[in-house]
């Protein structure tokens, strides 16, 4: 049995908003009877300055080891009180906030008897939990001053340059034998019109000049171990394998175009090409006189792929306008469902294409355009949904605007890092405020690994990723609890009682974030928790047959006692 602690109870009436339904005096007299409770004070606003001073005075005068605080929901002021009691020399864990306001007085305002009985039950549950809690030791976490970037496309290169600019070491890993990714294959970039190759040269030159960037071509990530501040990344290459120690990881593997095989006679007749093939053809200086028909939304915005890829309209607008301008005798038709051109620059691109003489025709998904001709393209038949008539456009070639789909490398990396992907295989940010931060601390994603975007947006995201890493690694050391599962709320990692651990590995298998490993100890194996990776979900405790692994915020013993006290 855990020795009794010196616990003080405080009932906060929240400016008397509780007293109308909860019998505070009755509650106080009940709480005073609980074993280990030294006193129970009633206050009307502990969250205010005067209340906090009162709390501090009581804590210090009675040498309290634990504080039972019944009042508003822990979501309200829990974190603030935790910080305060830490300042007064108590362990943050030794505070238990019981919600008798939102979860009791306010939802049972019409039933004072029930509300009072419930408040008693809830306070007893809080007391049961607090009396079994032990102090928790935070772990210091050294932060290695470097980042590893997976993918040498525009986003990855921008991230490396951003880091290097601030003197942070960047390891740029690329599986190809040269840098650039899609930049190498794009004739010109919208909306600027800059040549892809020119931008690539500029970025490469800047990287070569920087002493902080090391480029690893022909390397792929084989495994990632460790945690924020100290990852071990194993790289695989044809010649040699390598391990790099790094503080953070940025994922920028990019996306790949959807191949429209079997659609619109792609691969069957000559003259049907995708937007990427058009880019290559333009790059090689192929001639585009005659009639060109662009068809938008090939395999996008359909039930199995409902998203808009966002890059195909601007790219088609750019290329359609370019063909009309470069070959004034040519005819260009653009068949679309809706033209997506948000923002100042893209709207201007749309107008430029219209002014250059590109003809826009709208079709609906119920009547898809069809391609006529055997051997090579002869014409495109389309029902113009605005004009309401069917048109046959004599055509020399058809350009299919296909969406970007997720890179298979996303799933591979997500598996290694135990990250989850969205329904289409892209990485999703952890929250609104941390859009490039993944669920595992220290891992960031940017560019088209997250969502289809333009080169310009990929660069923006790469720079933002570098910024996030710099902010993360700025401090010399951090505390393990800084990386808990909840923003602003500490995560309490699982604790292993080594004498009770049989080393069966159930917990290690069950952990959703792969934070538990088995390590040798005196000739046997015991579970060891990585305190930084662990998010404190408690899955491990539920699969441990010996009760050897527990989440300190709510152990089996605490829960059992709480269940017992709930309706006493």
């Amino acid at each position: 049995m855990i020795p009794q602690k010196r616990i003080g109870a405080f009932l906060c009436t929240c400016g008397d908003t509780l007293s109308s339904s909860v019998g505070v005096e009755e509650l106080k007299s009940q709480v005073e009877l609980l074993p280990g409770i030294l006193f129970c004070h009633v206050h009307d606003a502990l969250c205010q300055e005067e209340g906090r001073a009162f709390l501090k005075e009581q804590v210090q005068a009675s040498y309290l080891e634990g504080i039972l605080l019944a009042g508003c929901s822990p979501r309200g002021h829990g974190a603030i009180f935790e910080r305060l009691i830490a300042q007064w020399g108590l362990n943050e864990q030794m505070l238990e906030v019981v919600d008798i306001r939102e979860g009791c007085a306010w939802v049972h305002a019409d039933q004072p008897d029930g509300a009072t009985a419930k408040a008693q039950g809830l306070v007893r549950m809080g007391w049961a939990k607090l009396s079994m809690k032990g102090p928790w030791q935070d772990a210091d976490l050294p932060l290695r001053k470097s980042a590893l970037i997976v993918g040498g496309g525009p986003a990855g290169m921008a991230a490396a340059l951003g880091l290097a600019q601030q003197g942070m070491k960047a390891h740029l890993v690329e599986k190809d034998n040269m840098l650039g990714g899609w930049l190498r294959r794009l004739s010109s970039l919208y909306p600027s019109g800059v040549k892809g190759a020119d931008l690539l040269e500029t970025m490469k030159r800047k990287m070569e000049q920087s002493p902080f960037i090391s480029i690893l071509l022909n390397h792929e990530v084989a495994a990632v171990k460790g945690n924020v501040g100290n990852f071990l990344v194993h790289l695989r290459a044809r010649a040699e394998c390598k391990t790099i120690k790094t503080g953070a990881v940025i994922l920028a593997m990019g996306a790949q175009p959807f191949v429209p095989s079997g659609l619109f006679k792609y691969g069957e007749v000559q003259g049907v090409m995708t937007q990427e093939e058009l880019e290559s053809a333009l790059l090689q200086g192929q001639e585009f006189s005659g009639t060109t028909v662009f068809i938008q939304c090939i395999g996008a915005r359909i039930p199995e792929r409902p998203y808009c890829s966002s890059i195909c309209c601007p790219e088609a607008l750019k290329n359609a306008g370019l063909i009309r301008t470069r070959w004034p005798q040519s005819k260009v038709f653009l068949l679309h469902r809706d033209v997506m051109a948000p923002g100042v620059d893209l709207e201007r691109l749309y107008h430029q294409a219209m002014d250059s003489g590109v003809r826009f025709l709208r079709y609906t998904p119920d009547h898809l355009p069809s391609i006529e001709g055997t051997g090579s393209v002869r014409a495109v038949k389309v029902l113009d949904s605005l004009g309401g008539r069917e048109m046959v456009l004599e055509a020399d070639r058809v350009i299919l605007s296909n969406p970007l789909v997720a890179n298979p490398a996303n799933a591979e990396l997500a598996g290694m890092l135990s990250l989850s992907l969205d329904g289409y295989g892209f990485f999703a940010g952890r929250s609104l405020l941390e859009p490039n931060q993944m669920a595992i601390p220290g891992i960031y994603a940017c560019g088209t690994s997250c969502w289809p975007c333009s080169v310009q947006e990929a660069i923006t995201q790469g720079v933002a990723g570098a910024g996030s890493v710099l902010a993360l690694l700025k401090a010399e050391t951090a505390k393990a609890s800084d990386f808990g599962a909840m923003e602003g709320v500490k995560g309490w990692p699982a604790v292993v009682k080594e004498s009770a651990c049989s080393g069966c590995g159930n917990c290690s298998q069950a952990c959703p974030v792969k934070s538990i490993g088995l390590q040798p100890l005196n000739g046997r194996r015991v579970a060891r928790v990585n305190k930084v990776r662990c998010t404190g979900c408690g899955t491990c405790a539920t699969v441990c047959s010996g009760g050897a692994i527990q989440t300190p915020s709510l152990s089996d013993a605490m829960a059992t006692k709480m269940i017992h006290e709930a309706f006493q």
């Binding site: 939102e102 306010w106 939802v107 408690g538 899955t539 089996d556």
Partner: protein, 136 residues
């Protein structure tokens, strides 16, 4: 102990979605019957089968486990795993003579005040109708 005809309900609720729903229900002063108690958790995954069995053996009429949406767990797929685990437990409970309806799993419904109120009310009325038929 007071003898009452009201069902006794224990709710294990993740502090994220359902915890927020509970707080919002209070802030909006939505009315709820007072015979349920909430154990707040860091994640619904903390609930072990033993806790649920313990709750029934302590005389609870119903146990509810509330977590976030199945694809929106803050701990990767921890609530998917919990769902599987507790569905297996439900099967086991049935063989122990506990009606399967007495264990309610609710994923993501507790995010807002009104759905939270509705979930709790529905569960309590299910328990009342069970009780009217026969005493567990």
């Amino acid at each position: 102990m007071k003898v009452s005809s009201d069902p006794k309900v224990l709710i294990f609720a993740c502090d994220w979605c359902p915890g927020l729903g509970s707080d919002r229900a209070g802030q909006e002063r939505l009315a709820l019957p007072s015979y349920f108690r909430i154990v707040r958790l860091d994640c619904a995954a903390q609930v072990s089968g033993e806790w649920v069995i313990k709750a029934f053996s302590e005389g609870m009429d119903g146990v509810m486990v509330m977590g976030c949406h199945l694809d929106a767990c803050r701990h990767q797929d921890a609530n998917h795993r919990t769902h599987k685990k507790l569905e297996t437990l439900r099967w086991l409970l049935e063989r122990m003579g506990v009606e399967p309806e007495r264990l309610c799993l609710s994923w993501g419904m507790g995010r807002e005040a009104l759905p939270f109120q509705e979930e709790v009310r529905n569960f309590i009325s299910t328990l009342k109708s069970l009780k009217a038929g026969q005493k567990a």
